[in-house]
Subunit: 267 residues, 2 copies
DNA sequence: GATGCAGATTGATCTACATCAAACTTTCGG
DNA sequence: CCGAAAGTTTGATGTAGATCAATCTGCATC
């Protein structure tokens, strides 16, 4: 099931550039690249990430524990379902999808994660990753060895609490996706998806009305419990009715209010 | 939105008896009933619950923190969405459903919890409960004040780890429900539901093939993203094909293997 | 700049499940 | 023990979204 590890030429591409497509699903080795140690104090995601609310001295301590960074190219797996769990990962740059798979091989996108997000949380309970994490573009994550995180949390109330909060928020998010999957029409699902992205981009200081989707129609469909054709049709319909403007993966929300209103509407 | 609190006559009914139906959705006050303090050391759910793996001395400490017990009658709410969060709850006797609700009022069952389960985990992240918990029968829970739990966890590695694990496992469970809601046919969903119950009853020492459902067809449907009529038809069909035997809420699994095989099958 | 291929769009048709409807059964308060 | 209400079953019909299929578009590689 697991492809052989394939080393990545260290720091071959500054992230965000037009790095060459890899897309072979290679496993990303956890490599420490020169002095690319995590530096939370200067990280732009400081206020959204795990160390939120820590003071300078605490930040310094946390940095000593937050291990190396890992670079991923588009299509690389950060971890796979079933692998031994040892670390959480904080996304510094880029984005990943996580997918769960059923016994019969069916696969479903269970999450769409962007910078500042912590992933790998579902591995704590069983000591094995319960899903696969795949980079959707060139991506960089900080490695957070969980045992050391636990140790540190014991003497740092704020960090301890942040950890509980991150886990808990993931649960809340999942509950809302369950609501979406269980009781919303296709149209509503896509609207919720777009509004959620909009909100997350806004909180990260990016435009909340113009962004580029990192997932294919098929991946979005999988995430929303729909088929790719349905997703495509909905994008077209939303464009026709003046709600959005779409050009492939590039989306512009023209009328977010109307999009919001659409949620919770009868057919 | 919140109904006025309504006191419950203390310990009017030994649990499990034919306690009179209440069903008015009354709010259960957190009452401490005489000396009904939690006693993990003698609790039958010790091995499944939060204190799993603690030694005798640790257990003793935990007991001092695990507050009072609360009794609920069928239909009572343990907490409601939006209420301030302060405690987790460990189910001692009985069962509860949790429901999330969308802005437009739509409600969906997000969980079906039985003895040994810890509920309220989604409140940690926001300091407010994200869902409502309603007793499905006469039920008793232990109150675990979260702040004191956090304090205790700082000096008790095993408890700290258990807490993280419980949170993480809830995430894994939710991911699997997302998989179910997003990509399984109605038949498969009900089969997974029944097999999951079977497994949970087995691990609690009850029969894994004969049990009584505590939810209505409508609640089961809501949980599985189906309509009550569909659930009812599926029960009938499963009975016709000899997979199960149903009599209202009483279910007997006649062929669990076939039920398992059904999952992941094309139409 | 040509070529190949993954991804996207759009149309026609099918179907699993929802919806509407009616009868039946169980539960529970009085 | 009766009657109302809640819950369940079963049938007839409707429909949102799936499936099948064909074409189109963009972008990565040579």
């Amino acid at each position: 099931m697991t492809l052989p590890a394939k080393p990545i030429p260290a720091a071959s591409q500054p992230n965000g550039s037009g790095a060459s497509r890899q897309g072979d699903g290679a496993r990303a080795p956890v490599i420490s690249i020169r002095d690319l140690k995590a530096h939370c104090s200067t990280c732009s995601m400081r206020e959204l990430c795990l160390p939120v609310g820590l003071n300078a001295e605490e930040l310094r301590q946390v940095e000593t524990v937050f291990g190396n960074r890992v670079k991923l190219r588009k299509g690389d797996s950060l971890y796979r379902a079933g692998e031994a769990f040892s670390s959480l990962y904080a996304i510094r740059i880029g984005s990943l999808k996580t997918t769960v798979l059923a016994e019969d091989g069916r696969e479903q996108v269970s999450g769409y994660h962007m910078l500042g997000d912590i992933i790998g949380l579902d591995g704590i309970g069983t000591d094995h990753h319960g899903c696969q994490a795949v980079a959707l573009e060139d991506t960089e994550v900080c490695v957070l060895p969980f045992e050391r995180l636990e140790d540190l949390a014991r003497n740092m109330t704020a960090l301890q609490h942040n950890l509980y909060q991150f886990l808990s928020r993931e649960i809340s998010r999942d509950h809302h996706i369950m609501l979406l999957l269980g009781s919303m029409r296709a149209e509503e699902r896509l609207a919720v998806f777009l509004l959620n992205l909009s909100d997350r981009y806004r909180r990260r200081g990016y435009s909340s009305t113009e962004f580029v989707l990192r997932m294919t129609r098929e991946e979005i469909g999988s995430y929303l419990g729909l088929k790719l054709e349905t997703v495509s049709r909905l994008f077209s319909r939303f464009q026709e009715t003046g709600l959005i403007q779409v050009q492939g993966r590039a989306v512009k929300l023209l009328d977010p209010a109307a999009l919001k209103q659409l949620v919770g509407q009868r057919s």
